[in-house]
Symmetry: C2
Subunit: 228 residues, 2 copies
DNA sequence: TTGAAAATAGCACGATCGTTCGTTAACTTA
DNA sequence: TAAGTTAACGAACGATCGTGCTATTTTCAA
């Protein structure tokens, strides 16, 4: 049972490629099989249903997201450096080579607005975790004095996320060359916003461990290690 | 030739409904015909091709956007009131009853990231105009002292737009009840950001006409009057 | 009211959709 | 190497896709 895993991985990779460009709706078993030089039925057997295939693609992307965007950021010193790394990782992810058509999670998210089902449920839980991760990193930064006390971490997560969407739109759709710069500018002013600029910063405690380890472990457990 | 226009309008309405929920990709002539009690071929004859139907749906939504979001905002006094109205109108549009699945333009935009063609071209031009409209309204506000001199109107448009996307995500996907409040908060802090808070405001010149009438007329000409 | 024009229906087409089935080829392991 | 397992294939299924035709009905103007 080695060959099986290999082709399954190959299928997922190709499927992610298509889903990135065409969206989950544009992913058909026929074209996917042709792309891989497989027969429809041979490919189909690996998943048992189209929905299962879509779910597998989404899960794979989601796991990869945790491994590539979230986990490395949490090795950064807590507070502002971690937030900045999180943001930069996200930008990189969004225009990563492995997603020729842009982040498939974001695409799926907008595709599944109004289509209830297990796939939407899964995506919803992942997105909630993602926002939770942002908010939690922000809260630490607030505690450390890197961000203004007055900051609501949920609001921060909302705006953080919004900038990411704006970037995706500006970069992928408008093909705006300054997209990244615009996103960075917006993010920097988000960090500064309502901040206690005059007040002296708290002493650097960047390396103290994050006290809310549970949530992070949740993430690890839920998503598992990166597939590659 | 009255009946023709009527059914065509009815088709467009039903098509918009579907496209809003399922996306342009999920809109098929068969299901659309069934929904309207028409035959496939009868419906088809009105447009001549699927692409033409999609284009018509997009154009209709776009015209409606101008009529419902942009035009009323430009009857508001120039400067900050106009910006605020523009934003509020956009939020209202995004959760309007006529789009049970959310703004079809936004959906199409994310669907057509990587699919070149006349439809993408059209959407691109419309989005450019939209951003231009925001930027232009912001520039006036800067001139009037309602916004900080240091503000780059393009950057403003980027962030304005980003908040809208964030709202759409938070409202439509997460079903977050506070979405609107989050969006408003983000927008207010965008208006205040880097502002010359200390400096006295310029005297109110809200009713002076906008000197860059051309762009607005472009909008009117390009999009025509509202279909209803 | 009649005749031209426009709107709609009916039917069929080739393609593709997701899926099932039985069979064969390839691999793993004992 | 033999046996047993798994992966892949090919053909076919009913359904639906977008798109042509040719009739037939409905609408509108004279």
């Amino acid at each position: 049972m080695i060959k099986g895993k290999q082709t399954k991985a190959a299928i997922l990779e190709a499927a992610t490629d298509i889903a990135s460009k065409e969206g989950l709706g544009g992913l058909s078993i026929g074209t996917l099989a042709k792309k891989l030089g497989l027969s429809k039925s041979g490919l189909f057997a690996h998943f048992g249903s189209k929905d299962a295939l879509l779910m597998a693609v989404t899960e794979a992307a989601s796991q990869r997201f945790v491994a590539v965007v979230i986990r490395p950021a949490f090795q950064e010193p807590a507070g502002r450096p971690r937030l900045e790394r999180l943001f930069e990782n996200w930008l990189n992810w969004s225009e990563s080579r492995e997603f020729p058509g842009g982040c498939p999670i974001m695409a799926a998210t907008l595709e599944l607005d109004d289509r209830p089902g297990p796939l939407r449920d899964y995506l919803l839980s992942q997105q909630r975790k993602w926002l939770g991760t942002i908010g939690q990193a922000a809260e630490i930064a607030i505690d450390m004095g890197h961000l203004a006390d007055s900051f609501d971490s949920e609001q921060f997560a909302f705006e953080f996320n919004a900038i990411g969407f704006g970037y995706h739109f500006s970069n992928r759709f408008l093909r705006e060359p300054h997209a990244r710069h615009q996103a960075r500018t917006a993010f920097q002013s988000l960090l500064v916003k309502r901040s206690n600029a005059g007040k002296p910063q708290a002493p650097d405690q960047s390396n103290i461990p994050c006290e809310k380890e549970t949530e992070r472990d949740d993430h690890r457990n839920a998503c598992g290690p990166a597939p590659q």
